[in-house]
């Protein structure tokens, strides 16, 4: 029987396939107690996805990884909801001339493995982070320190492995010498990149990245990849932000919709951002658990000043385009109240945010038309807005274009790029046709962060290639100021100048639209839109 023989082969293949999957299931059999939804009592769960990279403070800047890093590590200082400095591991950070800074640590702090946190823990960590050989994404944050160029040359191998600007005075005191005056340097220290590292790190950075040992309010417990990261409250923690709960579970969800369903059914405590489909009804669903709060982030339209459309454009045209956008209506309808209309180049949560006393950000079709005509109009009467179509931007870009077209008759078309990497590549290579969608979240709550990093001629994120010598000079002067207040004031002047030159059209500030279930309480949001996990209490 031919058929019977063939049947034997088929049966054989099926057995092989079955046993292969059986292997698979026995593998995951022991994974069962590692990665399921069982949550220890007193723990809080939140939808924070898989960190992109290993958990090393200076190699993390995306939000998932930052959440975990912030739970595990504490740097010298932090900010309260108003953006004011709160000292955490440092007792004080002081300076006389904005150039040499003295850090005093609080005594008696320990890493989770019992090692003492000393001046050397900070200095060694910062030297390691800054070294080009270690490929740390945030290494440029250390660029203000004397000796940075020795460990991080633009090309070639480092000449030294220590920055000469860092000196330990004793176990709890060290000094930081900067290349130039940076009056707001202490604000930069609030970024999680400045965290210290214990000695075990240097033995095996790779293993450490999977199982970090920090000095923060939580201790690392386990990381089941793509499913869950669990941290437990550190009972010996001495900082002001001691955990009010017993631990945190960071759970990875494939979609925000799935996470939302789990909040509704009580399988998840906190959701950071409700998806667009659930936005219209989330307040009704969650009641008191709904969170809606603005934070320090801005979205703008950035003209490419090298493009055919906006090369040597009269700023009046850009002001006109800005006035042709009906921000109020668009934020309320298309964006479902997830944004607040912008009234300046900086969000209200940062130091130095000011009322510019202008109508450039107010919808006014007649004046918009007038300004555009006065400024000589948009070349070819048409421009493009580049955006990445995987980020939910299509709807508002279409609405903005519609608004501009109706108000001024200038043709505006969306230029979608399939995903974020493609979008970034076009920006980096100066291939933006006329404008792109720009976004910026505060690194530290000072107006400088929203001005210098975006509109200085040499700023890395200045992808519109805006360049104005006078503005650069004003910024340089602001950096020379001897106190933070003076620097902030100087940058306020820069902002007024920006309004005249229009290096970007600010659209709106972000809001967080999240929520929590009824098993947790006291869910607050910090200035850059992260949930203050240490304060969350369980019922």
């Amino acid at each position: 029987m031919r058929g019977a023989k063939s049947a034997k082969w088929v049966a054989g293949a099926i057995i092989v396939a079955m046993s292969a999957t059986a292997c698979g299931s026995s593998d995951s059999g022991d994974g069962k107690d590692k990665g399921n939804g069982n949550k220890p009592a007193g723990y809080v769960s939140i939808d924070v996805g898989e960190p992109q990279k290993p958990l090393i403070p200076a190699d993390t800047n995306e939000s998932n990884g930052s959440y975990v890093i912030q739970a595990l590590f504490t740097q010298l200082l932090d900010f309260d909801a108003n953006g004011e400095i709160v000292y955490t591991n440092a007792e004080s950070v002081s300076t006389e001339d904005s150039k040499t800074w003295t850090v005093k640590l609080k005594p008696g702090w320990k890493f989770h493995n019992g090692e003492a946190v000393t001046s050397q823990s900070y200095i060694d960590a910062w030297n390691w982070y800054a070294n080009i050989k270690n490929n740390q994404q945030n290494s440029f944050w250390f660029g203000d320190i004397v000796g940075y160029d020795d460990v991080h040359p633009e090309k070639g191998e480092p000449k030294a492995d220590k920055m000469s600007g860092l000196k330990a005075v004793d176990d709890t005191t060290f000094t930081i010498e900067l290349k130039d005056k940076v009056p707001y340097f202490n604000y930069k220290l609030g970024y999680s990149t400045w965290a210290p590292l214990p000695k075990v790190f240097y033995d095996d950075p790779k293993a450490f990245g999977q199982k970090p040992v920090g000095n923060g309010p939580y201790k690392f417990e386990k990381w089941t990849h793509k499913k869950l990261i669990q941290v437990a409250a550190n009972p010996d923690y001495k900082g002001p932000d001691k955990a009010a709960n017993k631990g945190i579970q960071f759970k990875n969800y494939t979609t925000v919709e799935a996470a939302y369903q789990d909040v509704l059914s009580g399988n998840l405590d906190i959701i950071r951002q409700v998806g667009p489909t659930d936005l219209p009804k989330y307040k009704q669903d969650l009641g008191n658990g709904a969170i809606e709060q603005p934070y320090a982030a801005i979205q703008s339209l950035v003209p490419a000043f090298y493009s055919k459309t906006f090369k040597d454009i009269d700023p009046k045209v850009l002001q006109g385009l800005s006035m042709a956008i009906d921000r109020d209506t668009i934020t309320k309808t298309v964006l479902n109240n997830t944004r607040t209309p912008a009234t300046s180049f900086t969000p209200p949560q940062v130091k130095g945010n000011q009322d510019l006393g202008t109508d450039v950000f107010t919808y006014n079709p007649e004046k918009a038309k007038k300004l555009i005509t006065e400024g000589g109009g948009v070349p070819e009467n048409k421009f493009f807005i580049q955006y990445n179509s995987d980020g939910g931007h299509k709807e508002w870009v279409t609405a903005v274009c519609e608004s501009i077209r109706k108000a001024t008759g200038v043709d505006c078309v969306g230029d979608p790029k399939p995903d974020f990497p493609t979008d970034l590549e076009a920006r980096d290579n100066d291939q933006v046709k006329s404008m792109y969608r720009g976004g910026w979240v505060a690194d530290y709550p000072v107006n400088v962060n929203f001005i210098k990093e975006l509109y200085h001629t040499n700023a890395e994120s200045n992808n519109g290639r805006f360049s104005n010598k006078e503005i650069d000079k004003m910024m340089a002067e602001g950096d020379k100021a001897s106190s933070l207040d003076e620097a902030v004031k100087a940058y306020q002047e820069v902002e007024k100048k920006l309004l005249e030159e229009m290096p970007a059209i600010p659209l709106w500030y972000y809001r967080i639209n999240g929520g929590h279930g009824d098993k947790v309480d006291n869910v607050k949001v910090d200035f850059h839109g992260d949930i203050e996990l240490t304060q969350v209490s369980t019922k």
């Binding site: 031919r2 063939s6 999957t21 698979g24 990665g35 290993p54 990849h225 789990d262 995903d419 970034l424």
Partner: protein, 309 residues
């Protein structure tokens, strides 16, 4: 028979190499650099990007990168991910069992329910139950899987409280029930229709009349004579469908929070993690190749006239 199988298995090698190269070249051609994309929209240092790219060999030409990749692959090394620095074999070992389990579950559901429905309807063409089946399958075919997914989620989890709305543990068969049913329902409709049509057709065939005339019991006529011949188109469909079930589950995986292959490959693609995409895609190519071989062998089981030398 053995030689035939051996030949087919050998033929898979060039197909496998060719397809990995194609996928590799496509990933290479895509705009967007994985290392640059890691830096996101915030400030970054181009020197670090250049340094990482040099360390990973991303600055080399395509052929050299591919040669290195293939050389590592034949040694059983799938490479490491650029961002997470995890072994890709580890990522595959985590995602595949989940997907295979989901697929098998959905597939069994499709086969059992689909063929039974098809047989029930096909034996009495144009009867009320036949019409009923046609209507039901029409609904399933025209309903997008996310509609069905959300509907099931709403009914089973929120209205009746039988299950949790999402999968809490991707390794638990009970949890996978809903997503498997949603995933399998489209194929189920096709399988039911194919079975029904081919049964109805074969009912009128000469050999059926002969079998009836011989006075064979009805169970044997339907179960052996009719079924075996009618299943050939169904088996062809099912063979290709296994691959589709494995790769096409992104929507269903998303709704029910299943951490399977679909989501993994989609994420890797948007982050330009070339080695992850090529690794997973190659394995899926292998699955396709093996199931098509299996289908060819099944033909011989079902229809004794088909022989392989």
């Amino acid at each position: 028979m053995g030689r035939y199988v051996a030949r087919r298995l050998l033929q898979m090698i060039p197909v496998f190499i060719g397809s990995t190269f194609l996928i590799f070249a496509m990933m290479f051609a895509l705009p967007g650099d994985p290392v640059r994309a890691l830096m996101g929209e915030q400030a970054y240092d181009p020197a670090v990007v250049a340094h990482i790219r040099a360390d990973l060999g991303l600055d080399q030409p395509l052929w050299q990168q591919y040669a290195t990749y293939l050389w590592h692959l034949v040694q059983g090394d799938f490479g490491t991910e650029i961002a997470s620095k995890r072994e890709i074999s580890e990522i595959i070992a985590q995602a595949f069992p989940v997907t295979i389990r989901l697929t098998l579950f959905a597939f069994t559901f499709t086969v059992l329910v689909g063929i039974s429905l098809g047989v029930i309807a096909g034996l009495r063409p144009d009867s009320v139950r036949d019409r009923g089946l046609l209507t039901l399958t029409l609904v399933l075919i025209s309903m997008p899987s996310f509609v069905l997914g959300y509907l099931m989620q709403y009914l089973f989890a929120f209205q009746w409280g039988i299950t949790t709305p999402t999968v809490q543990d991707s390794n638990n068969f009970g949890d996978l029930f809903l997503p498997a049913v949603v995933l399998g329902s489209l194929s189920l409709a096709y399988v039911a229709r194919l079975t029904r049509t081919s049964m109805a057709e074969n009912l009128r065939a000469d050999y059926m009349r002969t079998a009836v005339a011989k006075g064979l019991p009805r169970r044997r006529i339907v179960g052996v004579h009719l079924m075996r011949n009618s299943l050939i188109p169904v088996v062809t469909f099912l063979g290709t469908d296994i691959g589709n079930l494995m790769t096409g589950a992104i929507v269903t995986e998303g709704i029910f929070n299943v951490q399977g292959v679909g989501k993994t490959i989609f994420d890797a693609l948007t982050r330009r993690e070339g080695s992850t995409v090529v690794g997973i895609a190659s394995l899926i190519v292998l699955v396709f190749l093996l199931t098509s071989l299996l289908v060819d062998l099944l033909y011989a089981v079902l229809d004794p006239r088909i022989r392989y030398a």
